[in-house]
C-alpha cells in the first residue's frame, strides 16, 4: 500500500489548533502523526475509528430513517434544545442556529460551562487581546492564570507562548518571564519563574488588589505581609512590577478563573487590570479555549443571533439570558422536552442532575465516535470527523479562523449535511 503524507494538517483537539501536523495515511487510515502532542496523536490515530451504529430507539436504522425520526421528535417538541457544536465546523454551527430558529428552540454551546463567563465579561468591558503569533514574536512576559497548558494545551508552550522563538524573542524561553497563578502546583507551574499558589475562589480579590497596585491607589488595611488570596502583598507587588515593566505581556486565563467563585466578574476584573497596565506598557489577555472550535461557536452564534450562548428562540426571535437559557440550568429545571446534541458528549461533561434530565427526554445525538451519550440516546447518527474526514472552518483561541482539510474518506456524512437533512424535514413538517 502507498503511504500518503499530508503536511500542515490542523489538529482538532484543543483551542490552540496546531496547524503543522504531518499525517501519514495508508489505506484510508492514519498510521503515523508527527509534530503533535500525545492527545492530538491519539485523536488523529483513532478519531475516525470507533464509529457508533446508526440507531433509532435502540434499533439499527438507515440514515434516512434516523433523519425522519430526528425531525419528527424535534418538530413535535414544545421546548426543544439544540446544544453542543464545540467539535464541529463553523458551517455546521450556522445550520444549527438556523434549525434552532425554525424549531423555536433553546440554543447553547459548551462555553456555557467553560469559557462562557469570559465571553460575558468581554461584552461588558471589552478585551485587549492579540494573536498567538504576536505572543510568539513579541511577548517577554507570559502569565497563565487558572490554566495548566502543559496538560490541557500541550504544545502551547513550545509553539506560541513560552519556548517559541520569535522575531523579538530569538532566545525563546530565555527571552521571557513566565508567571503562573493557580490553586495548586502543576506541571506548568514547575516551569514558572514566579508561581503564586492562591486560595480557591480568591481571584476577584487578587485582581482588585493588583489593579489598585497598578493604579497606585492606597491600601491602608494591608501591609506587605498581609495575605491576599493566600499570598503576601509584597509578592503581588513583584508581579505588578513585572506587568508594568515588561515590553509586551500576555495574560492567558483558563477555566480556573472563569469557573471559580465570581466567574465572569473575575474575568471582568482581570481584563480591567490588563487595561490598566496599558497605561504603562502593552499587555494583552487571551482565554485558553478548551474544545477545538468552542470559540467558533461563540463567533457563529454572535454573527447569526447577536448573542454568544444561552439563547432562546421560543418567541421566534433570539433572546439571551445565561442562567435562564443555559443548558445545565434548563436541564436541571426540566425546561426541555427534546434535545439535539451535536459534536459533544453531555453525559461525560454535564453534572449528574442535568444528565438525568436529558435521559428523561427524547435525545438525538450526532457524534463521530461512541461516547457516553451515544450509549443511551434515542437517535444516534454517526458522522464524519471534522479535520479528518470532513472539512470546514475552526476558530483558534485568538479568534483566527483556520481551514480544516478532509484527508480521509468516510462512509458517514458530515455534521453539516446531517443538520441540513434534518432541517429540510423539519421545514416540511412545519409546512414552511
Amino acid at each position: 500500500m502507498t503511504v500518503t503524507v499530508h503536511k500542515d494538517v490542523v489538529c482538532t483537539f484543543c483551542g490552540a489548533l496546531c496547524d503543522d501536523l504531518e499525517m501519514h495515511v495508508e489505506d484510508n487510515r492514519v498510521i503515523d502523526v508527527k509534530n503533535v502532542c500525545g492527545i492530538g496523536r491519539s485523536k488523529a490515530l483513532h478519531g475516525d475509528n470507533d464509529k457508533p451504529e446508526c440507531r433509532v430507539y435502540g434499533m439499527p436504522a438507515t440514515l434516512e430513517r434516523a433523519y425522519d425520526a430526528a425531525a419528527e421528535i424535534l418538530s413535535q417538541a414544545k421546548s426543544p434544545l439544540v446544544y453542543g457544536f464545540s467539535s464541529t465546523v463553523a458551517e455546521a454551527n450556522r445550520v444549527g442556529v438556523e434549525l434552532a430558529e425554525i424549531l423555536r428552540a433553546g440554543l447553547d454551546n459548551c462555553s456555557s460551562y467553560c469559557h462562557g463567563p469570559g465571553v460575558l465579561a468581554r461584552q461588558h468591558v471589552g478585551l485587549p487581546t492579540c494573536t498567538l503569533g504576536e505572543a510568539k514574536n513579541r511577548a517577554d512576559l507570559v502569565v497563565f492564570w487558572g490554566a495548566n497548558p502543559m496538560e490541557s494545551h500541550m504544545r502551547h508552550f513550545s509553539r506560541y507562548s513560552v519556548q517559541a522563538k520569535g522575531m523579538y524573542t530569538p532566545l525563546g524561553r530565555k527571552d521571557r518571564k513566565l508567571v503562573v497563578v493557580d490553586v495548586r502546583p502543576t506541571p506548568s507551574s514547575k516551569n514558572a519563574d514566579l508561581f503564586f499558589q492562591v486560595i480557591p475562589g480568591s481571584d476577584y480579590e487578587i485582581a482588585t488588589v493588583l489593579r489598585a497596585l497598578v493604579c497606585e491607589l492606597p491600601l491602608p488595611t494591608l501591609t506587605d505581609d498581609s495575605l491576599v488570596g493566600g499570598v503576601p502583598l509584597s509578592r503581588w507587588r513583584e508581579l505588578v512590577g513585572l506587568l508594568r515593566e515588561c515590553k509586551y505581556g500576555v495574560v492567558f486565563f483558563g477555566i480556573g478563573l472563569t469557573q471559580s467563585q465570581g466567574k465572569d466578574l473575575n474575568v471582568e476584573q482581570l481584563i480591567r487590570l490588563v487595561s490598566d497596565c496599558n497605561r504603562y506598557t502593552r499587555v494583552y489577555a487571551m482565554p485558553m479555549r478548551g474544545h477545538a472550535n468552542v470559540n467558533g461557536n461563540n463567533q457563529v452564534f454572535v454573527w447569526q443571533t447577536g448573542y454568544p450562548l444561552a439563547i432562546s428562540f421560543n418567541r421566534g426571535y433570539p433572546r439571551f439570558n445565561p442562567g435562564e437559557f443555559s443548558v445545565i440550568d434548563m436541564l436541571n429545571r426540566g425546561d426541555v422536552d427534546a434535545a439535539l446534541i451535536v459534536a459533544t458528549d453531555p453525559a461525560a461533561h454535564l453534572p449528574h442532575t442535568a444528565v438525568e434530565g436529558l435521559k428523561k427526554i427524547p435525545t438525538i445525538v450526532l457524534d463521530p465516535v461512541n461516547s457516553l451519550t451515544t450509549a443511551w440516546a434515542d437517535v444516534v447518527i454517526p458522522v464524519a470527523t471534522s479535520g479528518l474526514s470532513a472539512d470546514g472552518t475552526y476558530y483558534r483561541m485568538d479568534n483566527v479562523p483556520i481551514r480544516l482539510r478532509k484527508i480521509l474518506d468516510c462512509e458517514w456524512p458530515a455534521d453539516l449535511e446531517v443538520l441540513q437533512r434534518i432541517k429540510e424535514r423539519v421545514l416540511h413538517a412545519k409546512n414552511h
Binding site: 424549531l103 423555536r104 461584552q123 480579590e205 489593579r211 491576599v228 467563585q261 421560543n314 442562567g323 435562564e324
Partner: protein, 276 residues
Amino acid sequence: MRVIDLRLTREPNLPLEAERLRPDSLEQTTLDEIYALPLLYGNQTAEAGEFLRGEIRETGDAPGVSLILRGDFRRVKRLGQGMQSGELIIEGSCGFHAGAEMGGGRITIRGDAGDWLGAHMTGGVIRVEGSAGHWAGASYRGKTQGMRGGAIIIHGNAGRMTGTKMRGGLIVVNGDCLEFPGYDMNAGTILIAGHSGRHIGSGMVRGTIIVREGHDLLPTFYHDCTYQPPFWQLMRSYIETQGLVLDGWDVDCFFDRYSGEAMTGGKGEVLLCHTA
C-alpha cells in the same frame, strides 16, 4: 375594588411566560377574556384558561384591581412584569422575572420568588415573604442600569448579585445575602439585615449598602468614621410601614462608614453595623 381571584388548576410541565397577567391590564376584562389571554408555553401559545380558573368579585368602592393568584407558580415566569398600578398577590411561590420592569403598584409574594425579581423596576413595591433568587433588582446582562426606583422587601434570604447596576430605589433583605450585593451599583440603597456574602459593593460608583453582618470588604474601601446616620430611623420606619420589622437591630445603632470602591471613584458608601 375589583378582585380577580385565580387558582392554578394545572401545573405547567414547561416554562410558562405570563407577562399578560398583570392587574392594570385587567381592569375591564371579563373572566372569559382572562381565560383567553395568550401565554407562551414552551414555544407554543396557550390560553390562560388552560391553567387558571377563578372568579371576579367587586369589594368596596376603592378603584383599581387586585389580582390574586393561588398555587405554585414556580414554573411561571414574568408575573406582573411591567405593571404600572394595582395589586398582585401571589399566594405561593413564583418563577423568574416577577415584577421586572414594573413602574407602579404592589406585588406581594407569599412564598419564594425566582431570579431577576424586580429587575429594571422603576417604581412600586414588591414584598416577598419567603426568599428571593439571584439578581433581585438587578440589570439584565448587557444593560447598564438595573432597578431605578421603588422598593423590594424580602423577608427571607436573597441570592447572588442583588442590586447589580442598581440606579435607584431600595432593596431590603431581612435574611442573608450571597456574594456580590450591589455589584457595579450606581445609586440607591441596599439593606442586608442578615449576613452578607463576599465582595459587598464591588465596583460601586455611588449608592448606599447597609450590612448588619459579614464585614468582608475589599481593601479598596476606606474607613471614614463611625457614626449614627440621621436617616436610619426614617428608613426603619419606612420599612415597618411595608410590613417588615427589623427585629433585634438596635434603633440607636452605630455604623462604620466605608467609602468606595476606590477603583471607580470612591463615592459609594458601605455602612457596617458597629453594634448589631
